[in-house]
Amino acid sequence: MSIANYLYLSATLFTIGAIGVVVRRNAIVVFMCIELMLNAANLAFVTFARINGNLEGQVVAFFTMVVAACEVVVGLAIIVTIYRSRRSASVDDASLLKR
């Protein structure tokens, strides 16, 4: 098996996450799809670290994880705040500018 298979898997997962971000309405599911995309990118980093034989890819993947954790904390806090004022976590309901 070629190591490039990991890259194919990473690209596939990234694409699936991108579809989810566009298609799903529930803000929490949209967030989970963003997590999926970040994870797919991490897999590519780890694979490239192995191909190039140094640990820099792994370090970058580590930083990605930290940033993703921050993003989840702030994003979910925003979702909870929106939910508190609108009683809905659907991204379609936040359309005040349209109406």
């Binding site: 596939t12 529930n26 599911v29 999926l36 191909i51 034989g53 954790a69 979702i79 909870v80």
Partner: protein, 259 residues
């Protein structure tokens, strides 16, 4: 050690078997995330994808990242997701109606395009003749190697990330904080409001429901001294639903009627 006459960056058989077993499963789980209706099911499928990615990391000599993936992602981040799901409502399922016409079709077309681009790019690129592998870099152990990078070359990024973490924690606290604009209406306030009313008729509270020898539940009104049912002694909801029992059925029958 067996030399399998590796072609360009090929892996050994056990790893290939692991990959061919787990990769389809994780892709199926990721696709499932898109189609399942309930957010909780999406979260569980995502947890499965993350665990299989952790296994891939460990298979690729990234032991530390594999463990961190399980601890941070499947442990902390997914737990946070489930926690917020409980807060927002577990049964908050998605509406499957398209608000923008043709959005789903356009999204899927664009996704096929981008995946085609990415996959063809990966298949065309020439990798290094031989994947070097991490045996050299992991000489002193994966954790030691990572720490060496992290605290020498990337120490500035590391410090900045710590500032980011603190900012995120503060931001979440500010966003989640809610201030009450007025104090709660407590028993004392209710009592004061009763005595401020025009008449003191209800100052002692509303009358309780009727207590009879055969029935003493809340669905029977009490009797006024005049013998009529007291309308305030039972909940208006019960009356509207028709769950009220007429107190007449518990009236003492006169001796004459008995005879």
């Amino acid at each position: 050690m067996i030399n399998l006459a590796l072609s360009v960056g090929a892996t050994k058989t056990p790893e290939a078997a692991l990959f061919y077993f787990l990769a389809p499963l994780s892709v199926i789980a990721a696709l499932g995330m898109l189609v399942v209706k309930k957010a909780v099911h999406s979260a569980l499928l995502l947890a499965w994808v993350m665990i299989s990615l952790a296994i891939f990391y460990i298979a690729q000599d990234a032991l530390f990242l594999g463990i961190v993936q399980v601890v941070v992602y499947t442990g902390a981040v997914m737990m946070l997701f489930l926690f917020i799901l409980m807060l927002v409502g577990v049964d908050s399922s998605d509406s499957l109606i398209e608000n923008i016409k043709g959005q789903r079709a356009a999204a899927i077309t664009a996704a096929i395009g981008i995946s085609g681009l990415l996959l063809s790019l990966i298949s065309r690129v020439t990798m290094v003749n031989d994947a070097i592998g991490l045996a050299g870099a992991n000489q002193n152990g994966n954790v030691n190697g990572l720490a060496e990078q992290l605290f020498t070359k990337y120490v500035w990024a590391f410090e900045v990330v710590s500032a980011l973490l603190i900012t995120a924690a503060l931001g979440a606290m500010v966003l989640a904080h809610s201030q009450k604009t007025k104090s709660k209406f407590a028993q004392r306030d209710l009592s004061i409001a009763r005595f401020r009313k025009a008449s003191l008729g209800e100052a002692a509270g509303l009358p309780g429901s009727g207590v009879y020898a055969l029935h003493n539940a809340v669905d029977v009104p009490a009797l006024l001294p005049t013998g009529k049912a007291a309308p305030t002694s039972i909940s208006a909801v019960l009356e509207a639903r028709g769950d009220m029992i007429d107190s007449k059925s518990f009236e003492m029958k006169s001796e004459k009627a008995d005879e």
